[in-house]
Symmetry: C2
């Protein structure tokens, strides 16, 4: 199953037979005080660096969240998307919990966007899915509902089933549904990652749907998080994860994803891997010659 995203100039395909899709997560003011103040003052200039850093790190899609308290989020998100589309033709994942912001973002966006996200709550689905249908977008859906985050894979499957039915009812093709199987920190529950892996495996087996998740959640509260995240993604990919929302600036994690692409037959004969290796060697050689000069 292929989830095809596009911008005014570029297409990105998420699929079980495609290299893993890295959704760069940095364009988000959460926990960034200075960036919040700038955005509140209408200054969007800091976005440019974030966009280029994510692209340089290896992002395939850019997640854009403008959730700044006490601002007009729909207007801000719309403005940010228009700006980013002048900077790059990378497809965008429009990220908000506010329906009006999603609407404004979808109206501003040129191309077929991914929307982040909807839950399995009836009320939320009835608000968000018509918008997805209207704009022909793709949607990330989380298998949690009014009762909270299900503790077992079986319960997550039940809510996923409900989401699949709602998506079909709204006339949205299943290839435009991307499930977030819910990644929780292993620091709070030693079984957390095993439950996520099992959910990924079952969703792939049953529906063949694409999946994404907030990869860094799994290591929340633990030391040396990048090493945990780098180990998690190959395991998740080998179970059927096809995408993740992650910070593409961390070299070790991106490298781990591209290594897993090769191992899982998604980079046949290692052509991407070898290109990457040569670029790294060239960059290193350039640096040595610069330092030597």
């Amino acid at each position: 199953m292929h989830t095809v995203l596009s911008s005014h100039g570029k297409t990105v395909t998420i699929g079980h037979d495609q290299p893993f899709c890295i959704i760069g997560e940095r364009i988000n003011p959460t926990g960034r005080k200075k960036f919040q103040l700038q955005l509140r003052a209408g200054d969007l200039s800091a976005i440019e660096k974030d966009v280029f850093d994510q692209i340089a790190g290896g992002a395939d899609v850019l997640d854009v969240n403008m959730g700044v308290p006490l601002t007009d989020e729909p207007a801000l998100l719309s403005k940010a998307i228009t700006l980013i589309q002048t900077l790059t033709d990378m497809p965008i994942c429009i990220d908000s919990s506010i329906i009006e912001a999603l609407q404004a973002g979808l109206e501003a966006y040129q191309g077929k966007a991914l929307v982040n996200s909807v839950t399995g709550e009836d009320e939320r689905m009835e608000l968000v899915l018509p918008l997805i249908k209207k704009h022909g977008a793709a949607i990330i859906a989380l298998p949690n509902d009014e009762t909270g985050i299900p503790a077992t894979a079986a319960e997550r499957m039940v809510i996923t089933e409900k989401i699949v039915r709602a998506v079909e009812k709204h006339g949205i093709p299943l290839e435009d549904l991307v499930i977030d199987p819910l990644a929780m920190t292993v620091g709070a529950d030693p079984e957390a990652v095993k439950i996520t892996l099992e959910t990924i495996y079952l969703i792939r087996e049953k529906w063949g749907l694409n999946m994404t998740l907030g990869a860094s959640n799994i290591s929340f509260g633990l030391p040396y998080r990048h090493a945990l995240n780098a180990a998690f993604l190959p395991a998740a990919m080998s179970h059927g994860l096809t995408s993740a929302v992650m910070d593409a600036r961390t070299h070790q994690i991106v490298e781990s994803v591209r290594a897993a692409d090769l191992l899982l037959g998604l980079d046949p004969w290692g052509s991407n891997w070898i290109t990457r290796f040569r670029a790294m060697q060239a960059a290193k050689a350039a640096q040595i010659s610069e330092n030597g000069a």
Copy 2:
């Protein structure tokens, strides 16, 4: 199922509910000309550094191979094992393709050894298994036979079934059988790792047996091998691999294994992980203070 190895002073348990067992692979003259010449001259002094490097890197068991052409391998292996047991109480994996060497090694070894290895060939099993039974050792078995290395997981399962029956026939408990599901390079076949992962999963599902493999094989002929090996092990562990023969000197790969332990619930609440992190911080602080002095 627990494979319990021991030396004169220490016990190591391999199991699906245990932290991953790293079998240090460096004590092996293959491809090491200088080491071969030393061993041929009866000089075993280089072994000491290899032993300490593997232990420092995080090995749980030491693989010992003395396959030097034109030497009396049984005598050399026996001597090496006796020497190593004066240096450390880490359990040993006795590694040879020569039956007389395995016999000499088992006779010299104090404790319950792991033997590396036997294939599914009838003739080999009839030679090796009585020796394993006699010494109460554990054995690594490879599901290939006279016809070569099976291309599919299903064929590897058929030979594993044959091995399981032979082991039972010789009165060896199944917990002392460790299957090597065969890891081939993804550089020669883009499906190679997927086939290995599938074999691991099926063997765990059907028999719950412990498994080990030569982890670095998967990246043979490719650049930047340590990153590929580091990405492979968490995926293999998440499918049921409980051990690997690997070079414990490569920090990134050992770190990846210990991260996967935590992620898969084999290091509950991260106590090993946090200890490791603190030791690294202390080492770094010591280095900074040394450089500053």
